[in-house]
Each structure stands twice: as C-alpha cells, then as structure tokens.
C-alpha cells in the first residue's frame, strides 16, 4: 500500500487515478521477460497483419529448378522440395497460426466462462452436471480428443480450430467456476445484496469482472498451447491442408529432407518456438501483475 501511494502520484495525468488495470500495467512493466514476450508477440502479430506485403514471394510460387536450396541472399531461409521460398511461407504462416491461436482461445473462453459461471453461481445439480462433463473431457489426453473431433468433422484448418477450442473449454470452465465460488463468498457480494441489488446484476457487474484476471492470464498461455496443438494437428495431416503454409504442416512435409536440407525444418520450427515462447513469457508476466497473491 505505502509503496503504491508513493509512486502513484508523479506519473499519473491529472484527473486520472490509478485503477486496477493501470496498476497491473505498472507491475507488468517491471518484468523484463514479460516485456520481451510482449515484444515477440507484437512482432508476430505485426507480421501476420502486413505479411503478404513484405513477403518476397507468394506462398505457391514454385521454381522446380531451385529445389531444396540452402539459405542464401536470394532465399534467406532457403527453399523447400517444390522450390518455394521458405521465408515467404513462414511469414504467411504466422497469419494462420495466430488466427487459430486467438480464435480457438476466444471460443474456449466464451463457452468455458458461461458454463463455469452457471456452475459456480447456481451450484447444486447444475454444478454437478457441468463439472462431471468437464471431468470426462479432461479424462482424455487432449490431443487424442482433438484428433477424434477432427476425424469426425473431417480434416481442415477450421475443424482443427473447433477441436482445439473444444478441448480447452474445461480448463477455462473450471478456472471460472472456482473463481466464482470464492468471489461469491466475498463480503462485497453480501454488501451488494445488502443494498438491494438483484442477482443477475451482481453476477455480471460484480462477480464476472472480478473473476477475469486469471482468465486473461490463462488465455494468453492457452494461445501458446493452441498454436502448438494446431501445429501438431497440421503435422499429423489433420489440420491445414496443402498447400496452406501452416507451420506444423511445413514441418511434416520437410521431415523427409531433414538430413539433406535441415533448413526446411529449422525455420518453421523456430517460428513455432518463438511465438509460443513469446506468449508464455507474456502470460507469466501477466500472472505476476494480475495475481493478488504475487503482490507484496
């Protein structure tokens, strides 16, 4: 408290006071790793947005005379077995991976939060039904469940996204449920009831905003795993289909040339690693900034 009181006044513009988000940003800024993570994430987001403009070649421009060329000044990341520029494909791929990562997580968060809030707030048999459903889903290894879902829906990038969203629902659902259960007991909820506020309003204006911090953290980390899962499904041939430059799919196509042309595998692999690392670092930083237990 005292520490807060001393640093807050100078850098806050007049008329604005330190809200919880501003405070979280102050905490986030303190961690160098978190900032590095945020930088990496921003870099890939920018790449996905302007990628097609800066990529030297299109994704499907083949030059059969230049197959499996080592990195050079003409092709920075080398070329693949069909003579396509790997740098261009990696840049284009960022759009696919981030798209899958963000939207699958948004899907899981929305569905998971709704189920979790209902389970946590209404309790009793509703809670039992929803929680057991989550338990059943969590009993499967997640990649196996994703494979099963894609097999039913048919292999495509969109279905891979849906599968990834579905398998992550129980994680968010349980997180929100436990948060709602603990917030429900907080005195300000009783106090809100004490001034005559109705249940739905309490749920949406008091319980929901207060349970969002861990979801933001978990969501950031989940983008990383979703990207990995999408790559894994792509690698197995269940995600993006050729000729889409999905990073996992590129790895799968490149594995026959691992000995002779390792660059075909190294660069898509590095791209996956870097984005996942970026999201994880950022997620950890957010947790430190948002988790009240981490505050002193």
């Amino acid at each position: 408290m005292t520490q807060l009181a001393t640093n807050q006044s100078p850098d806050i513009p007049e008329g604005k006071t330190a809200g919880p988000w501003r405070e979280a940003w102050t905490g986030f800024k303190k961690s160098k790793a978190a900032l590095a993570g945020a930088f990496i994430v921003l870099f890939f987001v920018a790449l996905a947005l302007v990628g097609p403009l800066i990529a030297p070649e299109g994704i499907n421009e083949q030059d059969i005379t230049k197959r499996l060329m080592a990195p050079s000044s003409a092709h920075w990341f080398g070329t693949d077995d069909l003579g396509r520029d790997i740098l261009s494909r990696v840049i284009h791929g960022s759009r696919i991976s981030l798209w899958v990562g963000f939207f699958s997580v948004i899907g899981s968060v929305v569905v998971g939060s709704a189920l979790g809030i209902i389970a946590g707030y209404y309790g009793r048999w509703v809670d039992t039904v929803i929680s057991r459903l989550f338990d059943i889903m969590l009993a499967f290894p997640s990649i196996l469940l994703a494979i099963a879902i894609v097999s039913v829906l048919g292999p495509s990038l969109r279905n891979a996204l849906i599968a990834i969203a579905v398998i992550n629902v129980p994680n968010f659902g349980r997180l929100i449920r436990s948060k709602v259960l603990s917030i429900k007991q907080d005195e300000y909820i009783t106090a809100a009831r004490g001034i005559g506020m109705r249940d739905t309003r309490i749920l949406f204006s008091h319980i929901l905003p207060n349970s969002m911090a861990p979801v933001i953290v978990q969501g950031t980390l989940a983008v990383a795993t979703a990207i990995l899962e999408a790559a894994a499904l792509g690698f197995l041939g269940l995600g993006a289909q050729a000729p889409a430059p999905e990073w996992g799919k590129m790895l799968a196509d490149a594995r026959n040339y691992l000995r002779d042309a390792p660059w075909t595998m190294i660069f898509p692999g590095l791209a996956i690693m870097l984005t996942v690392l970026g999201f994880n670092l950022m997620g950890d930083g957010l947790r430190d900034a948002l988790d009240p237990r981490m505050k002193n």
Binding site: M1, L4, A5, Q8, G15, T17, A18, G19, P20, D186, E187, Y188, T190, A191, A192, R193, G194, I195, G196, M197, R198, H206, P209, N210
Partner: protein, 338 residues
C-alpha cells in the same frame, strides 16, 4: 425508551442451518424490540448467533444450508420473513441497511468509490446519475471524509481501513434507512480509528434519528455507544437491559463472566478471569440452562429445567434461576459476594 415507537420487533426468531451433521439452531427463539432512534447492542462470544440474527433480519442468511424456521420479524406492519425476494430487495438498503466487519473486503476492488456509492441510490430512488452523485458526495462529507470529490474517483485499495469503513457507513446511510445494522463495525480497525468510527455512528444516530443495531463482542464498544444491550449465549438471549444497569449490576453469571474477562482500568487487578470452556455447539444442549456447564453458581435445577427470562427490574431481564423469586434468597448472596 418508553414513549418512543418501535421500528423493529423480533418475535421468537429461529434460524437453523441444515448441515450434514444435523440441524444446527444458530438462533433459537429470540425476541426483542428496537425503538426509534436508539442504539441497541447485541453482545456475545463468537458463535452465539449474533451475526445470524442480523443476517436473518436482512433476509441474507446463506441458503442453503440456512433457513428461518420460525418466529417473525415485524417492520412497518409487515413480517419480513414472509416477504418475497423481490419485495425484500426494496427493503434492503432503503429501509434497513447493513455495514460489515471487514471494510477491506466489503467494497468491490474494481469500481470507484463514487460508482459504488451511487449504486444504492440508483436502485432505490428516481435520482438521475448526476444528482445521485451529488447526494453521495454530501453523504461522504457527512461521515467526515476529506477531499470528497477526489475520493469519489478513487478505488478502494487507495483508502485506509478507517476511511473505507466511513465509506461503508456513508453507503449504508445514503438512502436514509430507518434501521442500520452494524455487524462488528470496528473489530477490524485499530483502537484510535475504532473510537472515531463509534463517535461518528453515535453522531449520525442522533442527527438522522436512525435506529442502530450494533453487533459486537466488545463490551467496551457497548459501554461507549449503546443505550440498551442484549447479551446472547448459544443462540438465546440471556440478559437484556439498560447498559448502565447491566454494567453495574449484571444479573446473569455469563454477563458477569464477560465483564470480569475485560480489563477495568479503575481497579488494579492481578489477573483477568476468563470464563472456562467454550460456547457449546448450538443445539448440543437440549435440557436445562445452556450456560450451566461453565457456570460457577450451577445447582441441580440448572441442568433439569429450561430457565426463562426473569424480570429483575423494569426493562432488565435475565435467563437465570438465580433470579427466580423462589431461589433468590438462597443464592443471591453468593453472587453479591463475588
């Protein structure tokens, strides 16, 4: 208190918790009246049913497992226990308001003081946002907060405990309720702030003529603020009377024990005398006086029969056989001697 009208009348209230371990009657048939403009204290050890009494009046007993199983709470000609949730919502905050023990956790950390202050006004009155805000600011001024306009835009974590409790009091009083229930309002504060808050509550009580039900375990708080006091033990009222009477001449051995376990600066005491043992689990004692096991004056009748509230003086009652006329002569001397 004679002459003042009653604002709240609790008759034979019974609130039980239906747990896996059986039915726990946390409040077991208590009756009392609250008069206009008075401060009535309810004291007792933890677990004696004080808080459940206040939550029952507000209709906020956590359910399940809690439930009001009997009795009535009369307010303005209506029985609050029979009101529908929708009607009860109109009573809460508007007619009867409550402040809680923990000022640190009673405010939502994500909203500004101003927005939380105006919430009750927006629910219960037709005031527009701007007018509600002005009203809220006036109330904050009334509870003695400095730089009100700034505080309206601040978040709870930026205020100290004492300031937050002032905000809570302002929030509770903003709709000008007839009754304010204060559940241990000063327990979480340090002593100097405690005194300020009590003084403030007394001042507001006189100024706004709000009846206050002050729930506390601290006899010092009662002595400083209340006109009348109810002593609760194991879900029952064991003694009721004017504060000065009860402090000078406690009629129930439990009250006497409570008074002895608090340091008294007027006398040089070697040691405090604690009451041996703990409050029994509600419902554990089915027959006889609930305090019998811990009572130094216990005799055969105490474990055999249930004592009633015996009137000892006008307005002063005690639930003890020592006060029963038949036994009085034999046992009164022992009480006086100690």
């Amino acid at each position: 208190m004679v002459g003042k009208p009653k604002v709240l009348s609790v008759n034979g209230l019974r609130t039980s918790f239906f747990t896996d371990g059986g039915i726990v009657p946390a409040v077991d048939g208590i009756s009392f009246d609250l008069y206009e403009g008075e401060i009535l204290g309810i004291v007792g050890e933890s677990g004696c049913g004080k808080s459940v009494t206040s939550l029952s009046i507000m209709g906020l007993v956590p359910s399940p497992p809690g439930k009001i199983t009997g009795g009535e709470i009369l307010y303005g000609g209506r029985d609050l226990t029979k009101l529908k949730e929708r009607e009860m919502r109109k009573v809460r905050g508007n007619d009867i308001a409550m402040i809680f023990q923990e000022p640190m956790t009673s405010l939502n950390p994500l909203f500004t003081i101003g927005s939380q202050m105006t919430e009750a006004l927006l629910i219960h009155t037709n005031l527009g946002k701007r007018k509600a805000r002005r009203r809220a600011a006036e109330m904050l001024k009334l509870v003695g907060l400095p730089r009100v306009e700034e505080i309206m835009d601040e978040y709870p974590h930026q205020l100290s405990g004492g300031m937050r409790q002032r905000v809570m009091i302002a929030m509770a009083l903003v709709c000008e309720p007839n009754i304010l229930i204060a559940d241990e309002p000063t327990t979480a504060l340090d002593v100097t702030i405690q005194a300020q808050i009590l003084k403030l509550m007394k001042k507001l009580n006189e100024r706004l003529d709000t009846a206050v039900l002050l729930i506390t375990h601290d006899l010092g708080v009662v002595a400083e603020t209340c006109g009348r006091v109810i002593v609760m033990y194991a879900g029952q009222i064991v003694e009721e009377g004017p504060v000065t009477e009860i402090f000078r001449n406690p009629q129930h051995p439990y009250t006497e024990g409570l008074l002895k376990s608090v340091p008294d600066m007027r006398f040089k005491q070697e040691r405090l005398e604690p009451i041996p043992g703990n409050v029994p689990r509600p419902g554990a004692i089915r027959h006889g006086c609930r305090f019998a096991a811990r009572c130094p004056y216990r005799f055969d009748r105490c474990t055999a029969e249930d004592p009633e509230l015996y009137g000892t003086q006008p307005g002063h009652f005690a639930r003890c056989f020592l006060r029963d006329k038949k036994e009085e002569t034999a046992h009164d001397e022992t009480l006086v001697e100690s």
